[in-house]
């Protein structure tokens, strides 16, 4: 598979960080970057490659988080097993929401609306249902053993989330190369034309949404295990839906490394904002919102798109398309 080398190289390089520093600040920062990169990679498959913009990926993140936590706390299920079940549960929720909305023919803003509504319904249910701890939330009992997926230091968590990001990168790269990936991009570019050529567009979108939801749910499972506490507004809150789409859009939708690049930029900006003004609630999100608008306005293809434009510009000026021919659909 082409493109495997940069992925393995990047992950291996990042994997050495805990060997160089044991600074909790650095590791914690990178763990959060990877978490958003993973959640964003899920969004990227459906939104970036498939063109279906979800505003409710919190539905999958929250499901992963709650399933992991509730299985452990209430049913004594092993944490590793709970993690796996959480990912599957996220995929099932994705498939269910996808089946309902794609069969009803929802696209564009309607799809964004219905995903948002599903996430909100789940948030309300989680904030009243006894099994989720209702308004109090769910606390995972402290049990610092590797069998319980809890560790004394941050390094193992770092490697786990980096490993998950690595798997998601390889998965997305493999999908890019596959027939399914080609169908998915065809759906994004022109759904009617893809349908006319015999692509089962509903099945393709449904498949993408299921995998997308499972990837994002893995982020939720990790969140629950890392912080050991979740409540309805964390797990199903709109903040995670926003971060899920922010990372790939800033990094570059429909590119393998876009979500990782975007997550790095977003989290760095958020930290700089906190550093500049003290930890004021809301400020980091103000910055994110401004960056989102600015990126859509000046670099619609994100950082990855900008980089590839620059490379094309400098390496082969003769074959570079003039800007007027690029992405200009009136």
């Amino acid at each position: 598979m082409k493109g495997l080398v940069p992925i393995v190289g990047a992950v291996a390089l990042l994997g050495t960080v805990p060997l160089i520093t044991s600074s909790n600040v650095v590791l914690n920062f990178l763990v959060l970057v990877f978490l958003i990169a993973l959640v964003g990679q899920g969004w990227n498959l459906l939104g970036g490659y498939g063109g279906q913009y979800s505003f409710g990926h919190a539905a999958f993140f929250g499901t992963g988080a709650y399933v992991t936590a509730v299985l452990q706390v209430r049913y004594g299920v092993n944490a590793w097993l709970g993690f796996g079940i959480g990912i599957v549960a996220g995929g099932v929720v994705g498939a269910a929401i996808g089946a309902l909305s794609f069969r009803a023919g929802l696209k564009g803003s309607y799809f964004a609306l219905v995903t948002l509504a599903f996430a909100e319904v789940l948030r309300i249910i989680a904030s009243v249902a006894p099994i989720t701890g209702a308004g109090v939330g769910t606390l995972i009992t402290l049990d610092l053993r590797p069998e319980a997926l809890q560790f004394q230091s941050r390094a193992p968590f770092y490697w786990i989330i980096l490993g998950l990001v690595g798997v998601s990168l390889i998965l997305i790269r493999a999908i890019e190369d596959s027939r399914f990936g080609a169908y998915l991009i065809a759906v994004r570019e022109n759904e009617d034309a893809a349908e006319a050529l015999g692509v089962d567009t509903t099945a393709v979108k449904l498949g993408a949404m299921t995998i997308s939801a499972a990837i994002t749910a893995a982020g939720g499972c990790f969140y629950a295990q890392y912080f050991l506490f979740i409540d309805a507004s964390i797990a199903y809150g709109p903040w995670i839906s926003v971060e899920a789409l922010l990372a790939p859009i800033i990094g570059g939708t429909g590119t393998v490394f876009g979500p990782l690049l975007g997550a790095l930029v977003v989290k760095t900006l958020g930290e700089l904002g906190k550093f500049a003004t003290g930890d004021a609630p809301g400020l980091d999100l103000v910055i994110y919102g401004c960056v989102l608008i600015a990126v859509v306005a000046v670099a619609p293809r994100g950082i990855a798109g900008m980089l590839s434009d620059l490379r094309r510009h400098f390496l082969s000026p003769k074959t570079a398309m003039p800007p007027s021919l690029r992405r200009d659909h009136g």
């Binding site: 564009g108 803003s109 609306l113 509504a117 319904v121 309300i124 609630p281 103000v286 306005a297 619609p300």
Partner: protein
Amino acid sequence: MFSADILIPAVLNGLVTGAVYALVALGLTLIYGVLHIINFAHGALLTAAMFAAVFAYKLLGLDPYAAAIFLTPFFFLLGYGLQRFVIGPAAHGEDRNILLVTLGLAVVIENALLYAFRADTRTINLPYAFDVIEVGVTFLAVPRVIAFIVVFAVALALWLILRWTDTGKAIRAVSKEKLGAELSGIDVAHIYAVTFGLGTACLAIAACLLIPIYYVSPNVGDAFVLIAFTIVVLGGMGSVAGALIGGLFIGVVESLSGFYLGESLGQIGIFAMFILVLLLRPSGLFGVRT
């Protein structure tokens, strides 16, 4: 439990609340009908307008109904400017980009308010807030009755603008056939911005009607806008009459389900209906299937 003595007041209260919902939905549906986008910043703009009304009262001593006279043109200009100078240029004419830009605006406005005013809820105490008038078998709060009447006046004014003024005709032309309108010499970017301004101005009026009876906090708009989405989808995207009827209907449904099921389950009822309508009939009950 189902006796008329209980049912009629619940329905009347629902109708009165529903009128304000309808006004919020009216702005949303107007913008959708012309620009064919869902304005995800609608709730945040409503919150901003409510904060403006609270501060107009606290700092300047302006009664919310008087403040509406100043806030409405101000929010019209704000909406005009947002569409003309932020959303329009940033979106490059692509629907997906418009979704993202309005979402970005919502995030910025809501969190700027959170940063500036913290998560506290604020209310203002008006001398007439608890005055009631007798309507048939029940009593209704005066501010609610005022709101009900004003909403219908605004809807009528909006209809007259759209029906009889040159700008209104241009708005309808752009909503029907953008390219044709452009070829006939209509400045589409200007009309888009005017429409966005009108939709935002509706929010300023809604905010001034809400402040006497409601609280404000940085995310108060979310609750209203999700209800407004439901109304707009129910009434048919872009239909002014649909928004009015849908708003009243949702108000009654909320009032009755809150009465019989309790507060939080009543909320789910609205979402459940929203999802059902989206899935079964996305063009709405009054809309034309496209």
